[in-house]
Symmetry: C2
Subunit: 239 residues, 2 copies
């Protein structure tokens, strides 16, 4: 079956699911979101979704594919600041005339839409706020990762985070998930070189911690890996 023939609501259900799980959307919010999703926009890989220093015209919701915030140093060194996955919001600010603090670039083919403006549905606003809080928590984790973890721990920790995040939008298959990025991209997210990431991934496989093959990642024992790298799950909500 050709995936383009699937109804948007079904094709982009991961993004919808994520927001629905964050806050229980009422019928009106859900319907407004569905309407927005019905007007998707597709971008090829390596296209800019936002550009550092430019005005942010409106927020966007990732419906499918992977993107990343990126910062390039004057001499060409590149750092991916965080990954943006289906269900993630970008460019959502609450002040007037916002300017993007970073460029956001697509890593794969990406589908986005313009979500309902904040302030129209209380439950949706709650989902937006939660999404933003999660985003902040992930940035903080990224800082600790880069500042105080060694290469092996960084990789393990990030792979666990991605599993955690993707499972929120039902994009995991048990202990596996699609990881549609190159080792070089991974390196630029982890503050390492591609060569070293390659060696560490092999070491992780030998240790039975991570199995990477053909754009897919498997974590045989997430609990054990979490213990090994000293990771605790991200939480922003009281139980």
């Amino acid at each position: 079956m050709n995936p383009t023939q699937i109804r948007p609501a079904a094709r982009f259900s991961p993004a919808l699911n994520r927001l629905s799980k964050l806050a229980r959307l009422d019928a009106a919010a859900h319907s407004a979101l569905s309407d927005a999703i019905a007007r998707p926009q597709v971008l090829r890989p390596r296209r800019d979704l936002l550009i550092e220093g430019r005005d942010v015209p409106h927020p966007q919701l990732i419906l499918s594919g992977w993107a990343a915030r990126v910062r390039i140093l004057p001499d060409g060194r590149r750092q991916f600041l965080n990954f943006l996955l289906p269900g993630d919001l970008i460019g959502l600010y609450h002040h007037s005339r916002p300017v993007s603090p970073t460029t956001i670039v697509t890593l794969t083919e990406v589908t986005v839409c313009v979500p309902p403006a904040p302030g129209s549905h209380a439950t949706l606003d709650e989902a937006y706020a939660l999404s933003q809080a999660l985003d902040e928590a992930h940035l903080l984790s990224q800082i600790a990762r880069l500042g105080r973890m060694n290469a092996m721990e960084r990789i393990g920790d990030l792979m666990l985070e991605l599993h955690e995040r993707l499972s929120l939008s039902d994009l995991t298959q048990g202990r596996s998930y699609e990881l549609p990025i190159t080792q070089e991209t991974l390196a630029d997210a982890l503050g390492l070189t591609a060569v070293h990431v390659n060696r560490m991934l092999q070491a992780a496989r030998r240790a039975g911690d991570l199995i990477w093959s053909t754009r897919s990642m498997t974590i045989p024992d997430p609990q054990q890996l979490a213990r090994k790298v000293g990771r605790s799950p991200v939480r922003v909500l009281a139980p």
Copy 2:
């Protein structure tokens, strides 16, 4: 003159100034903020302002002193995620029952107050949103710093950022500012060891880039240093 005898509005003017500069506060917002500032709370160094995983009871505004978000790894490694300076807001979330993603600890004696709740003054909300956007931009910078800069660049870049931020609240004296933290604290913010920070600070002095003495930092030529470490100022607002 004993500083405790100064009126709160004057003593804590740096924090007030910062928020006033972010958005032009109208009289009502300014007065509400002044009322809040009139009920300050003082904390000694090394006290927790928020604890990771615990409920956030209400937002807080730093009136004086330095604090930091911190993450401790199970084996004791410590990473300061960002510094919190006078005028910075903490624990401001827009969803119900927020939980703090990190512990926040005072580095010096710190004065805080509970700022007016969001939603009561439009200009104040604008200032809150801008403050939050700046905060996010600084987190992103911290990620690039840790991921892709060497020790010397990290130090220069952070010292420039602090100068930039402190000047927003008029806490700079020309090219100098008070830096009331130890080299070990700096090391934990920069993902380095205290020993190495010490060596690099000496090298920076020899190079004429930074002059650190008795808790005070001077940047003889900010422009030149910015060029040297490849830094561009943080902006979140269209001009």
